[in-house]
């Protein structure tokens, strides 16, 4: 094990809208943690193979406990949100005064937000509220940076990089490389580039 956990079990939520690829974010992190000798539970709540709905990943990390696949209400230590409304949704259910939030500010509309009845909330106000409700907030422009790399889906690996770079997890670039190699045997370079971009974004 690289170093001690901030807390045991450490409870992390990785949330995205179906199609954003947050399951891959969690998958990469959890695999690296198991390789490092931690006990990990990676639970999910999601709709079937369809789009639009929120996909919640619950990650529990411990030195010795196989924790529940669901984080109890108000007990997330870290919330990683690929979308700002989803960050707020998770803070409402799992947030607390000590929570660390990492958020990609790029909004994704819901199919109901046609400007007639339901309106997508103001992103500025959302980001202000998220910051006020978190002990520490990292704003990571993951989608924007992923588009620069050629594909918005890479936002998921950029967020892995941001998590690794932030020091929240007992992981570093070196232990992520073999995990990325296994997951993306044919596209390692561009995914490593995304990982490095994420690390760089939180260092700024």
């Amino acid at each position: 094990m690289v170093r001690e956990l901030m807390k045991d079990p450490l409870s992390i939520i990785v949330i995205g809208v179906a199609g954003q690829g947050n399951v891959v974010t969690s998958f990469l992190i959890c695999n690296a943690l198991v390789n490092e000798g931690y006990r990990v539970t990676f639970g999910q709540s999601y709709p079937a193979q369809q789009r639009g709905g929120p996909v919640i990943n619950y990650i529990r990390i411990s030195e010795d406990i196989q924790a529940s696949p669901i984080i109890p209400e108000g007990r997330a230590d870290v919330i990683v949100a690929m979308e700002p409304v989803e960050a707020m949704r998770m803070l409402n259910q799992y947030g607390n005064p000590d929570v660390i939030t990492m958020v990609n500010p790029r909004p994704i509309q819901a199919i109901d937000t046609t400007g007639l009845g339901i309106k997508y909330p103001s992103v500025d106000k959302l980001m202000k509220d998220i910051t006020a409700l978190s002990a520490k907030t990292w704003v990571v422009n993951a989608t924007e940076e992923a588009q620069k790399l050629g594909n918005p889906i890479m936002a998921n690996v950029i967020l892995v990089g941001a998590l690794v770079g932030s020091g929240i997890l007992p992981l570093d670039r070196k232990v992520m490389e073999p995990v990325l190699r296994e997951r993306f045997p044919k596209a390692l370079d561009v995914n490593m580039e995304a990982l490095d971009k994420g690390i760089e974004l939180v260092k700024q």
Binding site: V34, Y46, A48, Q50, G52, P54, E73, G74, L133
Partner: protein, 652 residues
């Protein structure tokens, strides 16, 4: 992740519960496995199919779950350790065969395991069902894993149990084990050559048919004896607990967490039952004697709760008489997926303590912020989904026809037909093949004055699974309706497994392709094939076929590949954009047709410009919306195919 068949005993991997089950089967030397796709059981078979050739295993996606189990029984009887895997609905499909099988028992041969994955909360299912009751009804020895390690270890041991008892045995899991990942330490892989042979004289001698049930019950008694000392049941807690929690499955993890969070490890003990049927009564009695209060933490039915109450009643007045808390007392919810919070609130209530998950001031602040900051995000068909095109055409055809026509729906992605992304065209359905059988029934009601056109609906995989007998019935009895078969060339909702229309088998070999139109043509009925992306033509075809009444059912096959499957191979076909000069926005008479009615998630409304836009992050470039804009403001540009940067691992 390394390959599931690495022979590295004691190595620890992160495995999904379903992968752990597959690994357990490998460690037991499984030789034959058959299944039909169904979430949350879907990954068990593909995990084995991927390594099948080099492990000398036969793995098959069967046409339905009953056929899958029949296949596995044949192989087991011929001496090959065999397994079938299903979700709860699949077990129902196979039920008649399971009942006969439990009555007859096995003739001898090798072990036979049926894995059933239940879906508490029915996230991916048409119903919520607790299949543990099947064990009780049909006398099936059943285990349920409490974590990922047990999912593997139990599967491996179940083959031995089946051979010892000479009957089918079951592993029951829930979504939060099957679809959750955690640490699994590997065991050894056997190197066993298996030869199949059917012994004409059965190893287990037959009994008089009158005695069959008695023999099945004897097997259950033997299982109970073995379960009394099973390592899959264990107790953690003080010698004399103030409160005893009895739990099984994923609920064990929630219960343990609740005790830890409340800091009551010195007062509360947890008896975890892995051998859920038959109940190890002596073991349970031993722990009941140590406490005055018992709480049952289990999902869906009060299965263990009732078994333990029954046991206590049978022990009489001199036996243990604790107070029971659980579903009956209202401490634990009777439906839906349990959470650690359910266990926490039950324990807090019994122990008379107050639990606060967080600072109430924070709760107040976050609730206020969420009132404005959180919107509902209903699920929808994916961008580029061919069902959106089919439903759009169907929606228009039914409106143009104007006789209050309606559609039925079947299982799978096309169940979106009930909701806004299917334009509410589907009104009724249920179970595999229900979209055909129900339409068949409506098609016979003319004699009662029924004058509405009926459009039956079924997906391609479901048509093969259960739609064919219903269509056959409709042709025979000349039922008057139109059947639409939504052929997206995949069993999409469960993860893109192949089916007979594709011809590829689970092991990646070319099987025989059985085209849907060939089957329908054999019935001698009218069959049309459309690409739903040709919206105009498809709408006209629907109108024409639905009005071709009076001579039995006719079929329209709407054929267009699932976008998610296509996107695994190739990049975006078009770049789609909206010309802001042509989009008239709020002043157009269309009343936001594209975002309000058509509702592809790739289209969004820009509040500032008051016009529609493409969300380039979501849009998959299918180009379907180009044809719906009355102003022709949505345009597409052909793209050069590019290599994908995050290739997906094929799941089958």
């Amino acid at each position: 992740m390394p390959d599931i068949d690495i022979n590295s005993p004691n190595k620890t991997l992160m495995l999904m519960g379903n992968e752990a089950i597959a690994r357990g089967a490998l460690e037991a030397g499984v030789g034959f496995i058959a299944s039909y796709p169904g979430t949350p059981a879907s990954e068990i078979l593909p995990t084995l199919a991927e390594v099948a050739k080099r492990r000398n295993i036969y793995a098959e996606w069967s046409i339905n779950e009953m056929v899958a189990l029949m296949n596995a029984v044949a192989a087991a009887t011929a001496g090959i350790r065999s397994m079938a895997s299903t979700k709860q609905n699949g077990t129902n499909v196979a039920m008649d065969f399971i009942a006969t099988l439990m009555s007859n028992g096995l003739r001898g041969g090798a072990g036979l395991v049926l894995v059933n994955a239940d879906d508490p909360g029915r996230r991916n299912s048409p119903n919520e069902q607790d299949t543990r009751s099947v064990a009780k009804m049909l006398d099936i020895p059943m285990l349920e894993p409490g974590d990922f390690q047990e999912a593997k270890d139990m599967t491996r041991w179940l083959f031995e149990l089946s051979e010892e008892l000479g009957c089918l045995v079951m592993l029951r899991t829930v979504a939060k084990i099957s679809h959750t990942r955690g640490n699994v330490t590997l065991g050894e892989l056997p190197s066993r050559e298996q030869t199949a042979h059917f012994d004409l004289v059965p190893k287990i001698p037959p009994v008089n048919p009158v005695d069959l049930h008695a023999r099945a019950l004897e097997k259950l008694d033997r299982a109970k004896e073995m379960f009394e000392t099973s390592p899959f049941n264990h107790y953690i807690g003080p010698d004399i607990p103030e409160l005893l929690i009895i739990s099984c499955g994923a609920s064990v993890l929630h219960a343990m967490e609740a005790v830890r969070i409340l800091g009551l490890q010195d007062q509360i003990g947890v008896l975890k039952i892995g051998t859920i049927w038959p109940l190890p009564e002596k073991l349970v009695e031993k722990y009941l004697k140590k406490t005055q209060q018992v709480l049952f933490v289990e999902e869906v039915d009060p299965f263990v709760e009732r078994s333990v109450m029954e046991l206590t009643a049978g022990l009489g007045p001199s036996g243990p008489r604790p107070i029971f808390y659980g579903k009956r007392s209202g401490h634990i919810p009777s439906c839906g997926e349990l959470t650690p919070d359910d266990a926490i609130s039950a324990i807090a209530k019994i122990m008379g303590i107050t639990y606060q998950s967080r600072d109430p001031e924070y709760t107040e602040k976050v609730r206020t912020a969420s009132q404005e900051g959180v919107i509902l995000r209903p699920g929808t068909l994916c961008p580029g989904c061919p069902h959106r095109a089919s439903y759009w055409a169907l929606h228009r055809a039914l409106k143009l026809d104007g006789r209050e026509g309606f559609a039925t729906a079947d299982n799978g992605c096309m169940s979106a037909g009930y909701g806004p992304s299917g334009y509410f065209v589907a009104k009724i359905g249920g179970a595999m093949g229900g979209g055909v059988g129900l339409a068949d029934g409506f098609g016979k009601l003319k004699r009662f004055g029924f004058a509405q056109p009926v459009i039956g609906g079924v997906g391609d995989s479901t048509f093969y699974h259960a739609g064919i007998p219903a269509l056959l019935n409709a042709v025979w009895n000349q039922s008057d309706f139109t059947l639409v078969i939504y052929d997206n060339s995949a069993t999409a909702m469960t993860g893109f497994q192949p089916h007979p229309g594709i011809g590829m088998t689970a092991m990646g070999e070319q099987g025989k392709i059985i085209a849907i139109e060939d089957i329908c043509n054999a019935f001698g009925i009218r069959v049309e094939v459309c690409d739903p992306f040709e919206l105009e033509k498809t709408t006209e075809t629907i109108l024409d076929v639905m009005r071709d009444e009076g001579h039995g059912p006719r079929v329209i096959i709407m054929r267009h590949e699932c976008e998610l499957q296509r996107a695994r191979r190739e990049s975006t076909p078009y770049e789609v954009f909206i010309d802001p000069d042509k989009c008239l926005g709020e002043s157009c008479g269309c009343d936001r047709l594209c975002v309000r009615v058509f509702r592809c998630p790739g289209l969004k409304w820009n509040e500032i410009t008051g016009k529609s836009e493409i969300d380039e992050v979501i849009c998959c470039g299918c180009g379907l919306c180009v044809d719906i804009c009355p102003q022709g403001a949505i345009e597409k540009k052909v793209m050069v195919t590019e290599e994908k940067v995050q290739e997906e691992t094929p799941q089958w």
